[in-house]
Amino acid sequence: MIGLGPRTLFLKEVRRFMRVPGQTVLSPLVTTTLYFLVFGWSLGSRLREVEGIPYARFIVPGLVMLGAITNAFLNTSSSITVMKLQGTMVDLLVSPLSYGEILGAFVGAAVVRGMMVGGVVWLVSGLFTGFGLSHPVFSLVLLVLVATAFGGLGFVTGVWARTFEQVNFFPTFVITPLTFLGGVFYSAAMLPTPLRTLTLSNPLYYVVDGLRWGMLGRSGTGPWPGVAIAAALCGLSLGSGYVMLRRGWRLRG
């Protein structure tokens, strides 16, 4: 049974992003749908199939993953930065909430937003490519793991950042390049050797490919490398977030 304290913080964080649906849900929906339409239709007519999958279907798991990762990250990082800049972080720090409760509530809300955006992207894509899922439970678990990992990373970034410019550093220079170059729109098998090696050294490639296995039943690397990487990222980001809270780093003087 989750106590009233963490439940309040979790619901507050969910209500916060639901109060601005245009910014938090609709905007990524439009962006990701445009990716789907432009890449899926324009390239789909020329590539036809990748790894035996119609190209328009091939890119759906990557787009779902992109939406979930970006939104889970942005929810925690922006919320914590805003609280720090507006001074409302004080309200939380004087409360008796434990470190685990604070971390859990923030990351929980990030997972909700990430899953919501990922789900909406999947629904819209499904209108064009069909709604069939090969391994729905696996897909759900992997997405939750990834959203947790990036919600945790957003938490760490929010605590670390002193300005919004610093918050934007990770999505702009790390997450988006890694995701785009992580096989959202192509398979590593299609690339020449040097680029293939580069792609295979990108951890997000395995995560995207794992979801492809879950949703479409086929992938180059199979399900488990993606799960292992997502679980490791979860441990790393949540562990770091917990230690930062415990030490009060950049939060308590």
Binding site: G3, L4, G5, R7, T8, L9, K12, R15, R16, R19, V20, M83, Q86, G87, T88, V90, D91, L92, L93, V94, S95, P96, L97, S98, G248, R252, G253
Partner: protein, 310 residues
């Protein structure tokens, strides 16, 4: 003195080479309004931030109701309410939502009755459904007080509660602070408005450069340090102070255009006035000045406190 609700022993806070608090020992008795006085940067906010859990001490022990604020933080934070100096608000929520959320953080489901009481006491009932962004500065400050009270803390810390607040609101906040004390809440107030401390406080601590110079009941402090001054303005400058006046401790001021003499609270100025008349000094005007907390404070900061009073 009642049992202390807040106890600091040897508390030190350093920021790099700067020592914000230097071996502070302090007891805040239950049920009183306790004023922490000091100039800007004296360490007042650091001190209350350590008790509230916003800042970690570099050394020493801080206890609330006998429990350590680090080891037993879940207990001590439930006992403490903090009204921070800086106004903050979350523009995503209304006044009522803000109060309910803050209560929730403390594991308290805010009852309808308690919500109405807080809104009424802080004159925010008409704004309960207003977004916090739309509130005036004074309303936002009152909302801060409401947030600090939702979990019915045993000790309420008010950090410069009336900074930038108009006279009317200040009076109503003072009245509410007295109401809280009458219900048993211990109030710790930091202020550099000495008038505020003089009006409200039962006990006063003077802090400067991270050290507590003095802790004393306000009334006793005033009696001990206070006195009065008679200032006689002359219509023509006196070149020297007559011996009879010098013997009474009088001094010349304003280039000989005024004679000033200080006395203990119960003492008479009769001998001084008689000596002025006898010396034939041309009196133009006279005024008396009773020393107030502000004078005591300034004099303490100038000379520091005697060791037996710390």
């Amino acid at each position: 003195m009642h049992e202390p609700v807040v106890t600091l022993r040897g508390v030190v806070k350093r920021y790099g080479n700067f020592t914000a608090l230097d071996r502070v020992d302090l007891d805040v008795p239950a049920g009183e309004i306790f004023a922490l006085l000091g100039p800007n940067g004296a360490g007042k906010t650091t001190l209350i931030s350590i008790v509230a859990g916003l800042v970690r001490a570099s050394a020493g022990s801080t206890r609330v109701l006998g429990r350590d604020v680090v080891d037993d933080y879940r207990f001590t934070r439930r006992a403490v309410g903090l009204v921070p100096q800086e106004i903050n608000f979350d523009p995503f929520f209304t006044v009522e939502e803000t109060l309910r959320i803050q209560a929730g953080y403390f594991g308290v489901a805010l009852s309808h009755g308690r919500l109405e009481e807080i809104l009424g006491a802080l004159d925010l009932a008409a704004k309960r459904n207003a977004n916090t962004r739309s509130l005036s500065g004074g309303m936002k400050r009152r909302l801060l007080i409401g947030k600090a009270l939702v979990h019915e803390p045993r000790v309420l810390f008010l950090d410069e509660p009336t900074a930038g607040v108009d006279v009317q609101l200040r009076q109503s906040l003072w009245a509410y602070v007295r109401t809280l004390r009458s219900r048993g809440t211990t109030i710790v107030l930091t202020t550099h408005y000495l008038e505020e401390a003089e009006e409200l406080a039962d006990r006063v601590a003077v802090i400067d450069q991270g050290r507590v110079l003095l802790v004393e009941e306000k009334q006793r402090l005033l009696e001990r340090y206070a006195g009065k001054t008679l200032r006689v303005a002359l219509s023509a400058p006196a070149s020297a102070l007559p011996e009879s006046l010098a013997a009474l401790g009088a001094r010349l001021e304003d280039g000989g255009l005024a004679v000033a003499v200080s006395a203990a609270p119960g003492a008479s100025f009769g001998p001084a006035l008689a000596a002025i008349a006898q010396a034939g000094l041309p009196v133009r005007d006279l005024e008396t000045h009773r020393m107030r907390l502000e004078d005591v404070f300034v004099s303490l900061l100038r000379r520091g406190a005697p060791s037996e009073e710390t």
